[in-house]
């Protein structure tokens, strides 16, 4: 049964992509409904995988030679992420029915979304490193195509190509790592690698570990590769929700979590992971605080929360990072879709032109607030439980000063979230906008996510069993039920954290009284608006490359005489090398 389900979970979305594309853009209604049906079917199939979860190879397609066997394993981590990809994918597509109504080239849109969903499922279910890289690059392709969906908008195209290039640069780390595994173990099979990791030469294992870290950091928009995610917000909001919040950006965290047992003993690797996570969390939180673009705030927030997950892996608590991934996928998708509803209705992304939207879109306001509470870490929402667990884990598994920084970031998170909610939904409208109510498909997508944000943490025990030793033999994740969670969380550090979070929210409401302080921090605001120099680095790299290319152009003189000189010079140089070499 499991082999068929695995094949279907990738095959159904891909078949759907083909069908929606071939149906043609003149049958818009068919395209919407077919996309929904195919993604829903994929979601059902993914959920059906749960009972059969195990660490055995579920599906094997022998290919041979250097390409190995295309093998798939339906274990806990894979099934969990497949469910997220397909279910949230389905909700994003339902949302798109209203958001993308009447758009041109819808076939291309849905085809890429479905292609992406299938690729994401494939990425987490495969146990062949070559296939991990293949699916990794396919998700990058889909992400680029969807960010740059509106090809006529140069900002969108630039954002898409930027995302493609930056994530692919990190991807080279994954490529070299996967090839090293092949070179050292003779196969690209992940299970073989995980069991043999201890006996591999230490220096090459370190190259592998840091290569994978680079790939993960680029994919999850972590320091120092975080610049592509905010620019990816040119994508339609359902895409931001699905790809850039709930699924693709998790691929980096998945990579680190999957290979943690192999790398945990590499010197300085865990420290590097922690630092990457903390820096991302901190820098992004500050940038979220200074941005006025609603989607950019959420993008920075995503970078920040992913930083928490990465930090958790660094401290050795892979389960807590996956649990936060679970919470974050739900509440961040909720926030992005809610933001999408607002933007679609009001017609702008600039929060300075909003205000009082809650009066026109009450349901959206309430679900957004639920998402915001989850993001800030307010009990009893899912974000509270998972964030506290990470902080507890950080206290036990990492240096105290990093823990303190993460605590402060929790406060900053609450601050920028309160700011965001207030600026958009409350107060008086600051511009003449015309808000039309949110469509039914949008609400159908939003409400289940809000409900999930309220209750999904109740399943923590089941979740830990899914990821337990039966399916993930190398990770040693112990059973962790509700009682254990309550025991962990109801403690002094949590109280301190709650105080910090409360302080964050309070700071927003006291902002008028604190004007002196905010003026004093003007330089930090300036640095944050300039993204702490990272945009400058990006632009510098691009312009240097182009300048070098222009310089190289001069060698193509177009004059035959010089061309022949080139040939003669080559002979002379090779001759010289030959003589000197001898």
């Amino acid at each position: 049964m499991t082999p068929i389900l695995v094949a279907l979970s990738i095959g159904i979305p891909w078949l759907g992509a083909l069908v929606v594309w071939l149906i043609g853009d003149q049958h818009e209604r068919w395209q919407h409904w077919l996309a929904i049906v195919f993604s829903a079917a994929a979601g059902v199939v993914a959920i059906l995988l749960i009972p059969g979860a195990s660490s055995d190879t579920a599906l094997l397609i022998p290919i041979g030679g250097i390409f190995g066997d295309f093998a798939f394993v339906a274990d806990g981590m894979g099934i969990f992420l497949s469910i997220i990809a397909t279910v949230i994918g389905c909700l994003a597509i339902v949302f798109s029915m209203s958001y993308m109504k009447g758009e041109a080239q819808l076939g291309r849109y849905y085809a890429f979304v479905l292609f992406f969903i299938g690729a994401m499922v494939g990425l987490v279910l495969t146990s062949n490193l070559l296939l991990v890289f293949v699916f990794w690059e396919i998700t990058a392709l889909c992400s680029y195509a969807l960010i740059a969906f509106h090809n006529d908008d140069p900002k969108a195209v630039r954002g898409g190509i930027k995302a493609l290039i930056i994530t692919s640069i990190g991807g080279v780390g994954l490529l070299v790592g996967a090839l090293l595994v092949y070179a050292l173990t003779g196969t690209t099979d992940m299970q073989t690698f995980l069991s043999a990791a201890g006996s591999l030469p230490k220096n090459l294992l370190a190259v592998l570990a840091f290569g994978f870290l680079a790939a993960a950091a680029a994919k999850s928009a972590q320091f120092p590769f975080q610049t592509w995610l905010p620019d990816a917000m040119e994508a339609p909001s359902p895409i931001s929700a699905l790809i850039h919040a709930a699924t693709m950006v998790n691929a980096g965290v998945y990579l680190l979590a999957r290979f943690y047992p192999a790398f945990k003993d590499v010197p300085y690797w865990r420290e590097a992971v922690m630092v990457v996570g903390v820096l991302s969390a901190l820098l992004a939180a500050v940038m979220a605080l200074t941005s006025y673009d609603l989607k950019r705030v959420l993008a920075y927030s995503t970078v920040s929360q992913l930083g928490y997950m990465v930090y958790a892996i660094g401290t050795g608590h892979v389960f807590f990072s996956q649990f936060h991934l679970f919470s974050h996928s739900i509440f961040k998708a909720l926030l992005f879709l809610g933001a999408g509803a607002v933007i679609h209705s009001v017609g702008t992304r600039d929060m300075r032109e909003m205000g009082g939207v809650g009066k026109k879109l009450p349901i959206v306001k309430w679900v957004f607030i639920i998402g915001a509470l989850a993001l800030s870490g307010i009990p009893i929402l899912n974000g509270f439980w998972s964030k506290e667990l990470i902080l507890e884990g950080g206290l036990k598994g990492g240096p105290v000063w990093l823990y303190i920084v993460m605590l402060i970031v929790a406060g900053l998170t609450a601050l920028y979230t309160a700011r965001c909610v207030w600026l958009v939904f409350f107060g008086e409208p600051r511009s003449e906008y015309h808000a039309h109510p949110a469509g039914i498909p949008m609400l159908v997508a939003l409400v289940p996510l809000a409900a999930a944000a309220l209750v999904n943490w109740l399943g923590v025990g089941r979740f830990s069993l899914l990821m337990g030793e039966k399916t993930l033999p190398f990770h040693a994740i112990e059973a962790f039920g509700l009682k254990d969670m309550l025991h962990e969380v109801l403690s002094i550090p949590t109280l301190i954290a709650l105080v910090v979070i409360g302080l964050g929210i309070l700071l927003w409401f006291l902002r008028d009284k604190l004007e002196g302080v905010t003026n004093g921090l003007r330089s930090i605001r300036w640095a944050a608006e300039k993204s702490f120099g990272f945009e400058a680095i990006n632009s510098a790299v691009v312009s240097v490359t182009h300048s070098i290319a222009e310089a190289v152009r001069r060698t193509q003189t177009g004059l035959l005489g010089w061309n022949v000189v080139g040939i003669v010079l080559t002979v002379i140089v090779l001759f010289a090398i030959l003589i000197l070499g001898a």
């Binding site: 690059e137 090809n151 991807g171 490529l175």
Partner: protein
């Protein structure tokens, strides 16, 4: 039937068919009407199909009897793995180009010469890859070069085409002269031009022979477009008729590379790091090709520089294999040869289809600019999709074939477990990412909603031009998801290379 007969016909048929096709085509000129030229086109396609059948028969007898060869006096032609691979690629690509060129070259001046020249090119490449005698290799090489001179400068009323043709001719001639010097040196040293004999007779410290080998690398290297000998390529590949651009990028420069590899394999015993030389040129090609392509605004010129970069990847694969005796490197290099022929062939044919629709069918000889592609997907969806698939495949993105071949080459590099090689692998990987910076915008331009004025006024694309595009698109997706479909061919070719080089 004696299997050797099939081999004789395989090698000789295109050269016999070419004048027949030419004369048949002339009938239209002399008598008027389209019968002659239509017959010429049909004959071309017929002969190519016959060649493919012959190739299959030769392969079958090679598998059964072990060796297929042809000896004319002292000159031997041998059918080995490399020969089969190149013959298969040139015939498939040639057939697709012939089909594509039927509507493309309709009503052009000198049309009747086009198909004849195409057949000679294909025939000479088949002969080239089968020859195991240095001088014979040079003769086939020259025949290929001469036929391509005319094809590059085909639009002999356009000054740009003439310029491209002249530069190509002169530089190619310089290369050929160097090759002759190299052959002369080797002949002087060993007294024979038979490759296998030269291998055995060359001592380990043959200084002069090494010089001869180096001259052969540079001489054949001009045709292979290794940097800095590549300067003729952007002009030639962009000015030639699009089907010929596909042939040039897809198989002619690779034929030069095979000639170079065959001559290198004579030097196997000499203690000169030939593999390292290939690696050095490979890295240079990849970097220069990518940087130059980044600045191009003409589609065909961009694709031409892309070929320079892709040849670099093949050189890396062969360099790894010759320096470290790795099968994967040679197999990967040949796999990349196949996938590149498919993808670059598809790219040039798709760009050619658009060039035809937007300019050529109206009699204009303007180049196809990237901005002309705006909104092309709205009017020409299939062609736009084909070009997108080709271009993204060339950038190394799955699920297209280019990814799998690059994977194999880079795997070979990492297999060496040598730090410098791994740095080269990282360099190649990063360059692959860089190449996306010029491939991806092409796709973006085509899928805009706002249509360029050229597309707005463009004519329809004949269905016969679209058929090869569809075939190639399917092929690159199938090979991309089923890479081992080509393993039989590439392993044999890799084995042949290593066998001739090392023993």
């Amino acid at each position: 039937m004696d299997p050797m007969i099939y081999f004789y016909i395989l090698v000789g048929l295109p050269l016999v068919a070419s004048p027949i096709v030419y004369l048949t085509g002339r009938l239209s000129i002399r008598r008027g009407g389209v019968l002659g030229i239509s017959l010429a086109r049909a004959l071309t396609i017929f002969f190519l199909l016959v060649e493919m059948g012959l190739l299959a028969l030769v392969l079958q007898s090679a598998i059964q009897t072990g060796s297929v060869y042809m000896a004319v006096g002292e000159v031997t032609l041998l059918f080995d793995g490399i020969g089969f691979l190149m013959a298969a690629v040139v015939l498939v690509l040639g057939l697709m180009v012939a089909l594509f060129s039927v509507p493309y070259m309709t009503d052009e001046r000198n049309e009747e010469k086009f198909f004849a020249l195409l057949l000679i090119t294909i025939g000479s490449i088949i002969g080239l890859v089968m020859s195991f005698d240095l001088f014979n290799l040079w003769v086939w090489f020259e025949v290929m070069a001469i036929s391509t001179y005319f094809l590059v400068a085909f639009y002999n009323e356009q000054s740009a085409s003439l310029e491209a043709g002249v530069k190509y001719l002169v530089q190619s001639a310089v290369g050929s002269a160097l090759v002759l010097f190299g052959i002369a040196i080797l002949f002087a040293q060993t007294g024979t031009t038979d490759m296998q004999s030269i291998w055995m007779l060359t001592p380990e410290t043959g200084k002069l022979s090494a010089l001869g080998g180096m001259l052969l690398i540079v001489g054949f290297g001009v045709k292979t477009a290794i940097v800095p000998l590549h300067t003729w390529l952007p002009d030639a590949h962009s000015q030639a008729p699009s089907g010929i651009s596909a042939m040039l990028s897809g198989i002619v420069i690779e034929a030069g590379m095979v000639a170079m590899l065959r001559s290198l394999s004579l030097m196997g015993k000499i203690t000169v790091p030939w593999g390292a030389v290939l690696l050095g040129f490979g890295c240079l090609n990849i970097l220069v090709g990518n940087l130059m392509a980044l600045r191009q605004k003409q589609v065909k010129r961009l694709l031409a520089y892309s070929s320079v970069a892709q040849v670099g990847y093949m050189l890396l694969g062969f360099g790894f294999s010759l320096q470290f005796s790795l099968m994967d490197g040679a197999s990967g290099g040949f796999f990349h040869l196949i996938t590149h022929a498919m993808m670059k062939g598809l790219a040039f044919l798709a760009a050619g289809a658009l060039l035809y629709a937007l300019y050529l069918s109206k009699g204009e000889h303007s180049p196809l600019m990237i901005d002309d592609l705006n909104g092309a997907s709205r009017k020409y969806p299939l062609v736009a999709f084909a070009l997108s698939a080709a271009v993204l495949g060339l950038g190394g993105l799955p699920p297209f074939a280019g990814f799998m071949s690059k994977w194999q080459i880079l795997a070979a590099g990492v297999e060496t477990q040598n730090t410098l090689m791994i740095i080269i692998v990282i360099f190649a990987g990063l360059n692959s990412v860089l190449s996306l910076a010029y491939y991806a915008p092409i796709v973006n331009h085509m899928y805009r909603r706002e249509v360029s004025s050229a597309v707005e006024a463009g004519n329809r694309i004949p269905w016969l031009m679209v058929v090869p595009l569809v075939i190639f698109t399917l092929a690159i997706v199938i090979v991309g998801v089923w890479p081992s479909s080509m393993i039989f061919i590439t392993q044999n070719a890799g084995y042949s290379l290593l066998y001739t080089f090392f023993n």
